[in-house]
Structures are given as C-alpha cells and as structure tokens.
Symmetry: D3
Subunit: 202 residues, 6 copies
C-alpha cells in the first residue's frame, strides 16, 4: 500500500458538501465543501496561534496545524455526518458519530503506507476529539469561528436570518466557553458587527 | 399540531441529494434528489403491480403505492444516510440505520396531526422494512430497478463504467433475489441492453 | 416493444426543470424537477385522501395515487409547457396544451408494452384532465397546494415576495374553489402562516 | 410605456436555457442560455457577411446583424420552444410555433415605446421567418453553424456522440441546403474536423 | 489557418463567467457569461442607435453593432479581467489590461484566416478602446447600461443592495458622462425606477 | 483595524473558482475553489514533510504548513490569475503576476491588525515565491502534485484526456525537477497509475 491511496481519499473532500448547510436551506451551489471548511479552519487556527503567542502563551503551532488539517479528514470516507441525523439516537448519537469516525480514521491512516506516520495521525485525531490540550482547543474554536464567519458571509449575500439563527446561537455558545482568549475576543468583534443574533442586511 | 408541519418536511426532500451518487463521483448538479428517486420508485412500483396482476397475482396496489411514497420520507429528517457511512460500524451499521430512521419516522408521523393516520403510516414503514409481504417486496424491487435505470441514464450521458460498476452489480444481485417475477424479467431486458455489467457508451 | 422504454422515459422527468419557476426568476439550481413536483403531489394527495376518509368521505385511494403519479408524465416528452407560453395563443392556448399532452400521452402509454395496461393509463389521464371525479379533484388540489408550499419554502430561503405574488394568488384562487374540503382547510392554515398574500421573511 | 420594459425583457434571455440541450441529456449547468446562442449567432453572421463580401457578394451587414440580434428575442416571453414539443402536433406544430412567437413578438415590439422603431423590428422578424433574402439566409445558416460548433465543444468536453448524433445530422442537412456559399465551406471544414457524423474523443 | 479557429474561440465565451459578479458575492450559477453580457450590449446598442437616429443624429449602425459584438471577444483568450485585480498595479493597471487585451486581440484576429478581415476587426477594437467616435461611445454606454439592468434584475431576485451599491454608483457615473443623450435619458428612467442608489425589494 | 477583516477576506477563497480549470473546459460546478486547492496542498505538504523526515531529512514543519496555507491567499483579492492570461504579456507576464500578488499580499497582511504578525506573513510569502528553502520547495511540489491528483480524479469521472494533457505534462515536468525526493517518488507511482501522459478511462 502506498501514500497515493491516502491522497486520493483526501482529494475527494473537495466535493463532499457540508451537509449541515443543506439542512439549513442553503442552495446547493452555495454549500461549501468539507475542504473549503478545513482550509478556513487552518487559517483561523494559525491566526489564533499567533494572537495567543503575542500575549505570551506557549503554543505548539505545528501540532495545531496538523490537527486542523486532519480534523475532518475522516469525512472523506463517512460523508459529512449532519447533527440533525444524530438527534434521533438521543444521547448515544455523539458516541456513535465518534465511533464511526474513529473507525474510518483507522482505515484512512493505514492507507498512508507508513506505520509510524499513520500512528502519529491517529494520535492527533484522538487528541483533537478529547479536546483537552490548548492546541486541540484552538482548532475547536477555529472550527466554530469558521461557521460564524460563513453565516455572516451568507447573510451578506442575502440569506435570511431565520434560516441560520439556531446555528449562529449554537456556535456563539461554543466559542464563549473556549479557554482560548483570542477566540473569545474575535467573537466579541464578530457579534458586535453582527448586531444581535444575526445582523440585518441593508 | 397540524398537517402543514408534515407537508413542510415532505417538501424538503426535493433538495436532499442522494448522497450515494456523490460518493460515486457524480457531479453535484447531476445528483438526483431523494424526491426524484421516490417518484421513480412509485412509477416502477405501479408498473410492477400491473404486470404482476396481468399474470394473475393478487396485489394490493393502494398499499404498494403508499409504501413507495413513504419509503424514504424519513430522510427528510435524517438526510440520506450513505452506505459507506455504515460500513465503519460493521454489522451494527444496518441496525443503527434502521434505529435512526424509525426514530425519525415516529417524529414525522406525529406531525401529521392525526393519531390514527400517523399510526397507519408508521405501520406501513415497518412493513416496508421487514420486507415480507409481496407489496413490500415490489417496492424494494422498484427501489433497486430505479438505481439500475439511473446508472444506464448516467452512462448514456457519458459517465464512465468504472465509477458505477460496484453499485450496478450490487443492485443487480438484489433484483435477482426478489420473488417479484416481473421485476426479474425487467432486469433481464435491462442487463441485455446494458451488455455486460455496465454497457459501453458509443 | 417492452416496458423499459416506458421507464426510460419516466426517469428523464428527474432532470426536466419546472419551467414556470425559471420564468419567475428562481435560480436554476433552485428550480425543482417535474419528478420533484410529482413526488410532492403524490404525498399531498395521499394525505388529502386520508383526511377526507377520516371525515367519512369515500375515496378510491388507488385511483388517486395512480392519477397523481401519471398527471405530469407526458412532460417527459413535451417538456414542461409554461403557462406564459400559452397566453400568446389566447383562448386556444389551453386546448393546444391539452392536445399536445394527450398526443404525447398516447405515445407514452404505447411504450408500456401491454395494450390493457396502456389503455388503463390513458383512461386515468383523461379522467384527470376532465377533473370531475373526487379523485381527480384531490390530485388537482394537491397540485396547487404543492405550488403554495414550494413558494413558502422559497420565501423562507430568501426569495422576495414580489417574484412570486402572482403565482401565489393564482394557486390560492384554485384551491379556494376545490370541492375537497380538507384541501381548503389546509389552505386556511397555509395562508394564516403566510400572513397576507406572501409572508414576510424575518 | 418606455424602452426600459423592452430591455428588461431582453435581459431575461441570459437565464432562459436552450431547452433542446436538456432534452438531449446535457447537464443543466452546461446548457447555454438563449443569450449565449444569440451572441454566437451574431458573431458567425458577421463573419459570414465578411466572407461573402470578400468574394464579391453584396450584403446589407446592418440588416444581417439586426436580424441576428432579434431572431430569438421572442423566447424571452415564450421560453425556448423545444422541437420535440411540437412533433406531437404533427404538421401543425411549426405553424403554431410561428403563431405563438409572432404574437409574443408584437407584444415585445410594442414595449420599445416608439411606433416606428417597433414597426421596423416587427418587419425584420417577419423577414427572418420567411427566409427569402440573403440576409435572412445568412442568419439561418449562422444559427445552424452555432449548433454544430456547440456540439463539437460538448464532444470535446466528454459528452458521448450518441446523445448528439441526431441533432448533428439535422443541422448539417440544413447548412448543406443554404445558398450562402461561405457557410457551406465552413461546414466542410467542420465536418472534416469532426471526422464522420460526430468525431471521436481521444 | 481557417475561420473555424476563430469561431471555436468565440464559442468559449459562452462559459467564461463575468468575474466581477463573483467578486461581488453573486452565486456562481447566477453569474452571467461574457457571451450573455455581449448579447445584451448588442441589443442595447441597437436600441440606442435607433433612439439617436429618431432625434436626427447620424449613426453608422453597422459599425456600432460590429464593435458591440467584438468589444469583449479578447476575453475568450484572457479570461474576464476583474477590475479589483488591476487596482493592485495602481495607475499602470489600466494600461496593462489594454496591453494584454490588444495582444490577445491580435492573436484572435489572425485566426480569422483573412488578412483584410482581421485587419478590419483589429481597427474596430482600437476604435472601441479610444472611445472617441459616437459609435464607440454608444457601445460604451450600452456596456454600462447592461450592468445597471443586471443589478436591477439581481435585486429583483433577492440580492441585497449592499453587495451591489459600489458597482451601481460607478456605472451610473459613467453613463452620466456619456455624450449619447438617449443613454442618459434611459438612465433617468432606470434610476427613478431604482429609487435611490439601488431600489428596495418588496 | 482588526483581524476580522483578514478572516473575512480569507473566507471568500471558498467561492473563488480556480480559473485554469474553466479555461480547460471543465464544467463550472466541477471547478474546485481556491480554498479546495489550498486544503489539498496543505495535506500533501504535511505528508511530504513526514516522508522526508522519515528518511532523515530535517524539515521545519511549522514553516511548511504556514507557507502552504498562505501560498494562494492573495487570490482572495486578485482573483485566480490564469496563466493563459499572462502569455499575452510575453516574458513580463510572470513578473507582473508576482507584482500584483505581492501588492495584494501587503494589503492583506496589513488587515491582520498586528504589525509583527503581518510582517511574518509577508516574509513567508516572499520565501515561498523565491522557492529556495526546502520548505518552499515542498509546498511548490505539493501544489503541482495536487494538480496531477485532480486531473486523475477528473479523468476518473469521465473528462477526456485531450482536455487535460497539456496541464498534466506541464505539472509532471515541474515535479520531476523538484529536489524533494518523496515528491518525485509519489510522481512515479502517480504516472505509473496514469499509464502514459493521462490514463485511459475504462
């Protein structure tokens, strides 16, 4: 087995739509790919890292970026698992999502073609899921900030507030709880700009 | 609660893409909606019913059609659950899919706003899943025949055989096992036309 | 001739856009297919049937569903004939549309490959057009209710009221005249929800 | 009434799809607009005019270009009337298409807001339909050549020959009969390039 | 070399998106092609010509239409060069755009396969760029009016004013300065209709 | 000025199409965004880094990933500048592209809202362009490998070899020259799989 199998899978993320936007009524050609979202999460993660460092916090930037790149890779195999989907399983929903993604992850990591590299990738994915290290928390915060920025962008392009209000509130709540201070500061600017839950389009 | 809630949910199926085609590399605007597929399943079901009746078999057409209309309705809430998704759960995959869909189904049926009607719908959905009655078997056969017809259509429009071979073989296998004779006869015509697993585009 | 010809034609409805929405300024990827609309008409028809039965009215559900499935099938051959198109023929417009569709229908029914079945289908199509039986009236009401639900959905996703007002009013008028009481009741709920001709997006 | 009404109608041609391509199985986002086709017809018409002039033929270029611009304008109101549509009316099909378009044309010309200008436009449209003057024949030839060029382009991008063969042959036949010599010469180059009815994609 | 090379290039304009709309946040499937825009510019140019003539001004209609058809043809080779792009080159931006397009134009004109014709086309393109003759000014005015009409159309379909305000103001400013009186008159009607910079959607 | 301006710009890369694919005849909805490409470049870069490290080469992974994320960011402002575009400027083309992008880059970096961070980003962009350090060479190799993988993916989905041959050969040539050995090794596997310049679709 060689690394091409790994890369061929990676590349399919360019055309896997983020299913959450479809459920929220966004037109299909306006729905971003999982790759689009991952790129944005990487960019926000690096900025958060730099902002944290500037105020004296020590961050392992390499680890942050590796995690950001890998955090949704399993969706190349499992498709983007929408949350509405899991609500019908009640409390077990979250566990099952994690189980499916971890299993897919193992399959994916094996395709890298190197035992040591694939073991490293699997470790990072676990670290991301457990969300304890500062590095993982930065990626989680970036993941939510990307959703907020995307909502503002969709609002700006004419999508009504009603469609996106619940997703906005849910993501705001997540960032408010993050220990990453620069993320909370960005949130304050964002929500000020958004005036209220979701800002008015002029 | 009133029936409008039910209908508003039904209508969203028009824009839920059948995720299986995305995983198989079909371009997003060529991916049919779940509603598209259900319409076709209804049409094939009615034809199978009429062909069965013509050769003397008794079929409850009303039940067939009700089942065909309802068979994928839960996906309005759960999104179309791709099979690749479930393989990562091993044998439990199928069970979990059924559990999620049944749970979503109950939620949906309640929104009809009439206890007796919603109970009837729930019963039909169960009957479809258990796949024992001739009526359920007709809808299952129609569901697979629609996939085969769709593959032929995609092939005709230029999609390469390589993309669709596994799905073709899998669906052929299902129809071969159906007790519905007219379905097996249609299959023979289809595969003859398709010359080999998937026919050559000229 | 065999039934595959019939089914291959049926399947093309998945990619015939409902041209009326294009004329009304809806973006192409947001325009439903004729198959999408037919699926929804089937679902609404079955609900209306059940609601009518609950209040003691006798309805032949099988006939309703057959008619719903078949009611727009001719458009697989004729394309969706937009109404604006026909206004330029004045009073003859409606007649010509019916003539074209009946002629296409005969062609289509023949492709079923069975004289008796195709004769039955042709009879149903005629019954639908004449709109006298309760069963036909249910399908006509469902056809209009689907347009209203679709308008509400498009409004919810940000399309302005101005684009859709005339279509809304025209469809409301049709449902108001239907003898199917459950349809008129659904209309009342719908218009209440829509507050005025077409509701305000928040 | 003012000319803005006229121009607002003109502008809608940018989003009216050429329905013939849909019937032939081309993916919706690959289907050109009526405006796309008209632009191309204009460009080919001007080239044919220049080629004819170079070999000493007198052509009124202004009239050619006016006709080319106007030749499908009525479709802004009637939608693009697909030919398959008209076959179900037998021999009356062509007449009815002309009747509808002429009627729409009158409506459109009136919206120009100037009696003399709108009368001129109506005359040109008639001249185009009767296809007797050299100028009209140039535009008709350009209209067919655009279809052939579009087929070659679609072939180049991977669409299979089977989808487009009938349309190719039909358009070749039309250009073969045109009295415009430069058009027939272009056709010879085109078909040589296309090697056989529709060329092989490598 | 033969004229088919020229026409094959012309035809690609049908699928080159006008990049300015993408930068302004319009959804990809709603973005017109360069061919769409050119068709509309032709139609507006012919109307302006007729309106000018009616008030006694002498206009060479053939030259106007030739220029309108050719004015964006170079973009088949250079792609649509967005203005935002050039701002990063400061004052040299406009010159470089012209240099690129003139160079592409020469390449394109050569592909016509006739020295005299291609020389004529190149002369017209130069005349258009220098914008001194009345004919060139008519095409420039039509080019800007098309943008204004397209903005009104996008507004009507729900795009928010905020997205398009700067483009609206910039195009209004251009038409205000044109010596073509009928264009300024059309502008007055347009802006009245648009009530303020960009009109409110009801 | 605050970092939100920076992020809002970053996010627009999700809907900037990679214009090269449009010029090569790929259907618009199949054209990846610049964000899609950047995500893939990041993933390939990290893999190359790990493969290089495994064979004892020292690589600064953080710097690689930062460069990969930033390498096309300027296109959020300049749009994706297609190469065909620059050929019309002859040898100055490449310089002008670099000049435009550097200028846009400065604008973008300033929007980060921190002098030190933006200075770092600008340095990295310069390092990437000069292509001397191993880290820059890894990102350049990843950039080309992504194009090759994307071509294989498009071929697999039915796009003909003829469309993509020149781009394939050009990218192969680039990777062949890279000093990054793991990249050359990946290339060998890729081209073996692609059998000849671009592999045959079955």
């Amino acid at each position: 087995m060689n690394s091409i199998d790994f890369l061929s899978t990676v590349i399919t993320l360019k055309r896997i739509p983020r299913s959450g936007w479809i459920t929220h009524g966004i037109s299909l050609p306006d729905v971003e790919s999982v790759a689009d979202h991952t790129f944005s999460t990487c960019s926000i993660s690096i900025l958060l890292t730099d902002l944290e460092r500037r105020r004296g916090v020590r961050v392992n930037a390499e680890r942050v970026l590796r995690m950001a790149i890998l955090h949704d890779l399993a969706e190349a195999l499992t498709f983007d698992i929408s949350k509405s989907y899991l609500t019908y399983l009640g409390e077990r929903g979250r566990d099952i999502k994690n189980e499916i993604e971890s299993s897919a992850w193992k399959h994916l990591a094996r395709s890298v073609g190197s035992v040591s590299i694939s073991r490293d990738y699997a470790k990072l994915q676990k670290q991301y899921l457990s969300n304890i290290t500062l590095e993982a928390q930065i990626v989680h915060a970036a993941d939510s900030l990307d959703i907020l920025l995307q909502i503002l962008e969709l609002r700006r392009r004419g999508y009504p507030a009603g469609l996106l209000k619940d997703l906005w509130n849910e993501s705001v709540k997540k960032v408010k709880k993050t220990p990453v201070r620069s993320a909370r500061r960005l949130l304050r600017v964002l929500t000020r700009e958004g005036r209220g839950p979701v800002f008015q389009v002029k």
